[in-house]
Amino acid sequence: MKETLKITGMTCAACSARIEKVVAKMEGVEEISVNLATEKAVVAYDPVRTTLDQIKERIEKAGYGAAEIQKKAAVVDEDKLRKEKEIKTLWIKFWVSTVFAVPLLYFAMGSMIWWLRFPIPFVFNPMQFPLNYAILQIVLTIPIVAAGYRFYTVGYKAILNRSPNMDSLIAMGTTAAIIYSLYSVYEIMQGNFGAVEGLYFETAGVIITLILLGKSLEAVSKGRTSEAIKKLMGLAPKTATVIKDDKEYEVPIEDVEIGHIILVKPGEKIPVDGVVTEGNTSVDESMLTGESIPVEKRAGDSVYAASINKNGLIRFEAKKVGGDTALAQIIKLVEEAQGSKAPIAQMADVVSGYFVPIVFVIAVLAFLAWFISGESLVFSLTIFIAILVIACPCALGLATPTAIMVGTGKGAEYGILIKGGEALETTHKINTIVFDKTGTITEGKPEVTDIITADGIQRTELLQLAASAEKGSEHPLGEAIVNKAEAEGLEFLKVSEFAAIPGHGIEVVIAEKKLLLGNRKLMKERSIDLTGLEQESDRLAGEGKTPMYIAADGRISGIIAVADVVKASSQKAIDKLKSMGLEVAMITGDNRKTAEAIAKQVGIDRVLAEVLPQDKSNEVKKLQSEGKQVAMVGDGINDAPALAQADIGIAIGSGTDVAMESADIVLMKSDLMDVPAAIQLSKSTIRNIKQNLFWAFGYNVIGIPIAAGVLHLFGGPLLNPIFAAAAMSLSSVSVLTNALRLKRFKPFR
């Protein structure tokens, strides 16, 4: 069983690593993944051996909060309100601490920054009234510590649980500063006025204030990273108009049940998934598919939640409600992707897990080393505090999940659903891409491509006759001709006689004309002279098209060619992929001639033709055995085995469950340009993650030695813990800001 829990109280990667560690040890827990950025844990467990309550209890025992996520739509608002409240509280805490930290810093540093000529009241002059000066600082520090009390409760609890985290570092650093300052106050009271220089209340106060600022900015940025999911959630309407006994009732969306008949007026959003029972309209499904052109709907057609009814009044029967709608499935998919971890993130998590204890050891060793070497207690303590404060690994913990959240969210905005961090990471490594032909490179439904006339007949007349003859035919080729005539607004003529010739065509009588429609074999059997059209027929066949001959009263009238046409974007997408250095191949069950004709049209050199659906995965395997990283692009149903076999399976579909389940990436639109866009997005995201990791690691690699006083050894400056706190907060904010740059991502078009 797989459940998602909302986790509270995490502050850095060490927290998420700790939760993973304690829960993974539980009997019956198969897998757990905790995401710091989304504050969610996805846990797979055996319900026979353990329960969700036991897992929650274990998490709470480790010092964090855990709650189940309800699947109702109302949770969206609750979550939003909770986040907003959290951000508001953090800002209040920050401002409260700022109100006290500014005068604290003023009094503490003002006397030292003499060139700024800060006036200090005589009664607080540190040399003349050191105790007043110290008490003033204590009084100003108390509210700041109260505002940052969480660092102490969480930090020390984590130490007691033998899993120190970022809060532990902050708590230990500031506590050391406060305790030493209180000792200095005691010394002042004993008449040792020189101890006034050992007051570090402002260090503790300013560190807490800066960390609160960093946390507030982090919370705001985190909110922005999940904007994509919020946008998706915000699409769902809150109410639906249900028809009961011919009366309209407006009911909350949660109360809509399968089988309810729902009325949707023009301009309204469709509340749940269903099938139209009455009325015609066009529906804007762009929020689901990214396709901006409205789709015509009539009785029998499916409609989807959150799409917008443009111009007609329709009634439809609810088929999927709540968490089963296509929108809910997309949200679930995006949420899971955002909550999942890329392999690169797992490495960062492992490092973070060891990081805090190692930093603590470094801080203690540096403190002892300086103290034993003859430096003062104040000097050694400054080193100790600076190391603890500067080494917080929160930037490290945020580096990958924030980029993945923004990356997958941005993909969702463009109708590119990436199913997880791993998929996102693997996509950028792809060097070979295999396209299924039918439905992927081509539209997947035959269309009339050419109409060639003979014997003086007009093009329109030929199409009208052929379409009238095929009206009612269920053959795909006949259907294509009827669709073409409908599209051109032609009237259908009455058919007086009709006879099907299995495997060859049909024979009909229309307006007293005896018509024969079918393949070349039928024409030859009926001794129809094809002279003059044979060359055209061969050309069409060579282009992968199927020619249908039409003869009227024993004389050939023309050819209507039908083919599965190539999508408008196919060639452009393949050109783009080739320019990106990818090898492009096409796989199909069709005959080689047709396959090669299509491949030639779109510029594909490598063709794997006449491959049965069950053998498609073997072809992918062969490419993989050549050492290639293969992505398979298919429609997600008959290509499922190949999609699964490929390193990355990309399904082109309309968001059906099958497509979503079988692929790593789902392209909601049928636009092949989304394939290079997905690779481009993956590359951008991975580049962003690498930048984030570089800065986060680099910051610690540079920051810790500086804080430990390495520069001081060579006559350089000593890092003030206040600047260490500012730098630490800045590192988290810079990592988040860099991740947010991904929001500017624009795919190839």
Binding site: V96, F100, W114, M127, Q128, F129, P130, L131, V139, P143
Partner: protein, 224 residues
């Protein structure tokens, strides 16, 4: 959040309360204790000074005096002052005509300040220590703590000080007469030629709190 607001409000309320509390003036109160030790150690050198209406602490060589008033309403020109022999300075080139009036009287140089005109009342007898306590109580800004030397001091005005060790047992300069050399140098004194006084740089804070080094004439004594 309410709890935190209360804590913050309490902290703010405590601030003036604590600041107003006289017991927090540890420099002032500790200076009284150590001045008492100086007075006890030099009890033979402390006497009433009728002329100046106060008390005088004479240096061990008898050439300098620190004088502090018993009653500021007495009308004397100085309520706190230093008095020292003019001879070393005259020998070093001091031109008496160049000094401001009232500084040189007979063979003595006097520098000091008029603090006010309050009529002081004492709970018990007026003693040298009680008068010093009144000075701390009424003119706290005249009392200094000199961290570099671990000295307390009374600022008698114009950069002139009388300083004494906070802890005589650990300090080799138990009392120090500190004289600002500016007006004496302006009056012709060659600072290097003043016998019995040390002309040295001393670290002090200016009015903006800027640490600066200034020239001073110093005459330190060990009294133990």
């Amino acid at each position: 959040m309410k709890k935190k607001i209360i804590i913050a409000a309490l902290a703010m309320a405590l601030l003036p309360l604590l600041a107003a509390c006289a017991d927090t003036d540890v420099v002032g109160s500790e200076s009284v204790n150590s001045f008492k030790e100086v007075l006890t150690a030099m009890d033979q050198n402390v006497s009433e000074d009728e002329m100046n209406g106060g008390w005088a602490l004479v240096s061990p060589d008898g050439t300098e005096r620190f004088i502090w008033s018993r009653d500021y309403s007495s009308g004397n020109p100085h309520d706190v002052m230093l008095e020292f022999d003019a001879k070393p300075f005259l020998d070093a080139g001091l031109d008496p005509s160049k000094l401001a009036p009232g500084i040189l009287a007979e063979d003595k140089i006097m520098v000091g300040s008029d603090l006010g005109d309050e009529e002081l009342s004492y709970k018990g007898d007026a003693t040298p220590l009680a008068s010093y306590e009144k000075l701390v109580e009424l003119y706290r800004d005249r009392i200094k703590y000199h961290a570099d030397l671990d000295h307390y001091g009374v600022n008698v005005g114009d950069g002139n000080m009388f300083e004494w060790a906070k802890d005589m047992s650990t300090n080799d300069k138990d009392i120090v007469f500190v004289v600002d050399p500016a007006q004496l140098i302006d009056a012709g004194v060659d600072p290097e030629k003043v016998e019995g006084w040390v002309f040295a740089k001393v670290k002090v804070m200016d009015e903006n709190g800027k640490p600066i080094e200034v020239d001073k004439f110093l005459k330190p004594f060990s009294i133990q």
